[in-house]
Amino acid sequence: MSLKVDSKQRTALMFHIPAIVLLTLITMVPLIYNLRISFYDFSLTRAGSRDIFVGLENYKMILSDHEFWNSMWVTAKFVIASTFIQLVLGVIIALMLNYYSGSLNRLLTSLVMIPMMVAPLVVGLMYSFILNPQFGLYSFLVDLFHLNLSKTPLSAGGSALFVLILTDVWEWTPFMALMTLAALKAAPIEPYEAALIDGANRSQIFFRITIPLIRPVIAVSIILRGVEACKVFDKAFILTGGGPGNSTEVIDLFTYREAFVKYNFSYAAALCVVLFIIMLIFGILYWNFVIGKQSND
């Protein structure tokens, strides 16, 4: 079989070439370089180390690295908890927004979107000020209302991770809400009318009609948020630096430490590859379960 390209397609190809070249340069080249150095013993602190080939040694080390498994576990807890809370709150907010219409709806939607527009680094800084034990709003409120709460939630492992999850929920719930709202707005009215005629009650309508209608959008949002949450770095870096101990050391922070604090570039590159593979598996699962199912439907 020969590929036939007519002149129209050739012209189209010409227009695409700059973008293809640029994307290859800025994504594929670093990716391949990263893959390459992950098989070497490249450390910035050892001269000539970039030429020492070690094969799969870095990958073997990762598997037996206690710190790696700890950071994977911390990341898993973070991703599951923050995505789940965002989903629940997001759907509730979307249903509430959907209830109002007209200018009130537009106003509320705009207000809800504000946290999402703040850079994650700024969110981290903001919360670090709010939670400052001496001058922060949080300890002021704890004092004012005599609350039985720790004034330093960032000082204990469990509550520090909880705070981290909370900041993510604060920032990204609007995203879930907006996605769900869009799905609700796009949902056809007929099934609802039919259900009402058949005498369905509110909860039946919600679980049997609304949820199935918005399910594909929710699935996409969960995947998008999940993948994003796996990449959390800024907030953890600013708020806790991975501490206390290593209780909030998410995988990206761990990789950062290996690369830019310990200068073990090859090891960090191998970590990136492992993370990439994990993401890829999620991607494939998503493709099979969500996209595949939809096309079957």
Binding site: T45, T152, G243, S247
Partner: protein, 449 residues
């Protein structure tokens, strides 16, 4: 004949004159690239650069940034050998690593070159202890200190001298309230000055809590830097005299227990404290004393940022078995791949002239020239000057071996887990002993550090 002689004489004069000018103007037109941490001393030096450019005709491109960025860039440049910098400033604990990789040029050949000597530079004026601690490796000189600091004790002079507080302290502890000289007194004072809202301090009712001390408990360099003072002072440390690992030594355990014991006399949230938070707490007037880097003192004495200007005293940190003061420094080095090493050497000399060093000192830096340290104007103007001088006399340095960076990172993690209560001091130090043994496999005992 006479004409010929005259021409020869004029020619000789001309050559001599050229040679004389040469030292300073020999590299006019050259551009050198310098990289250093963005800190008060570097900024003060930056202001003086036009003077260097005028004297030598050499153009200086100075790059500055925060610590991790600067060190990362330097390491990358050195590893790839691109000749990106003529001078790098880097903390001294990286020295062993840099030497092992043959990244640096020895300074000795430059120090003896008369044709490259700047008139105002006097090498005998350099504080030899400081320069050797921060730039010398196995008897060879590689660099000159760019900015140094040392750990001393900051304490609230006004509170320590208050008669009511003095009387109350004596009644409770049975001895006079004075600047603590040992760790028992330091702990007693930390306990004594920790007060709740509603309690009295210097005859006034407190609206918010006041704390005896504050420690740096974040998983950060600041914590290991502070704790090492206690460890050394308690008679522990990382290596013994022979270079064997002693990190799990009972004295270190005692020092770590003591360090953790100070948490209850510190403002809440010690796990977020680095030297920056400690400085803020002192500036806000909510702590009585702390072990701090002397380069944080200028901000304590800055009326724009501090509520306690003139109220803070500076002294040596308390003494345990041995007097110690943790010395920290960044050092200027000339990399082997520096495109213009001679011009770089002229710059290094110029930075270490009296005029430049004094300007740096006046803006919060610490010089490496004896003459500037002894300048009466500085000791009069700067309340932290005398304590700093005393501290340099007893300074102690971190290991400078190539593995230290990784060892330090492990120490941050283990200590942090002690402060947050996830493990005991003994567990943490036993873990460290095991980790350090792995890291230093085949290199023990460490003969030179």
């Amino acid at each position: 004949m006479r004409k010929v002689l005259l021409v020869i004489a004029v020619f000789c004069l001309f050559i001599t004159a050229t040679l004389l000018v040469a030292a300073e103007q020999k590299y006019a037109g050259v551009t050198i690239r310098v990289i250093a941490e963005q800190q008060n001393p570097t900024l003060a030096m930056q202001k003086q650069i036009p003077n260097f450019e005028e004297i030598t005709g050499i153009k200086v491109e100075l790059e500055m940034g925060p610590m991790d960025n600067v060190v990362g860039k330097e390491m990358l440049a050195l590893e790839s050998g691109t000749g990106a910098y003529d001078i790098i400033s880097i903390p001294y604990q990286f020295l062993g690593q840099l030497i092992e990789n043959e990244y640096l040029q020895p300074l000795d050949p430059f120090l003896n070159r008369e044709d490259l000597k700047l008139e105002d530079f006097d090498k005998s004026d350099l504080i030899s202890g400081m320069v050797s601690a921060s730039g010398e490796w196995k008897g060879v000189s590689y660099g000159i200190t760019s900015n140094s600091c040392i750990m001393i004790m900051f304490y609230r002079k006004d509170i320590f001298e208050n008669p009511e507080e003095k009387a109350a302290f004596k009644a409770k502890y049975g001895y006079e309230l004075k600047v603590p000289v040992n760790w028992i007194q330091y702990r007693d004072l930390a306990e004594f000055f920790t007060r709740k809202p509603g309690d009295n301090l210097m005859g006034e009712t407190l609206k918010q809590s006041f704390y005896g001390t504050s420690i740096a408990g974040k998983r950060h360099d600041a914590m290991t830097c502070e704790w090492l003072n206690y460890a050394w002072s308690f008679g522990g440390g990382i290596f013994d005299e022979k270079g064997n690992l002693i990190i799990d030594n009972p004295k270190n355990v005692e020092a770590l227990d003591y360090f953790k014991g100070l948490v209850k006399f510190s403002p809440p949230g010690v796990t977020n404290n680095t030297w920056d938070e400690l400085t803020t707490q002192m500036q806000q007037g909510i702590v009585a004393m702390q072990i701090q880097w002397n380069d944080c003192a200028p901000s304590i004495e800055d009326p724009e940022t501090s509520k306690v200007v003139g109220k803070v005293g500076y002294a040596l940190i308390p003494k345990g078995e041995v007097p110690v003061a943790h010395f920290g420094a960044w050092t200027y080095f000339i990399p082997v791949d520096a495109p213009n090493p001679e011009a770089a050497w002229l710059f290094l000399q110029w930075v270490n002239t009296y005029k430049v060093q004094k300007a740096i000192a006046l803006e919060g830096g610490f010089p490496c020239l004896t003459s500037v340290y002894n300048d009466p104007e500085l000791s009069e103007k700067l309340p932290y000057w005398k304590a700093s001088l005393d501290a340099y006399e007893i300074s102690t340095t971190r290991p400078r071996i190539p593995e230290w960076n990784i060892m330090n990172n492990e120490m941050m993690l283990e200590l942090s887990m002690v402060i947050s209560g996830e493990q005991t001091s003994a567990q943490a130090l036993a873990n460290l002993q095991k980790k350090y043994n792995d890291i230093l496999k085949g290199k023990l005992p460490v003969a030179y550090q």
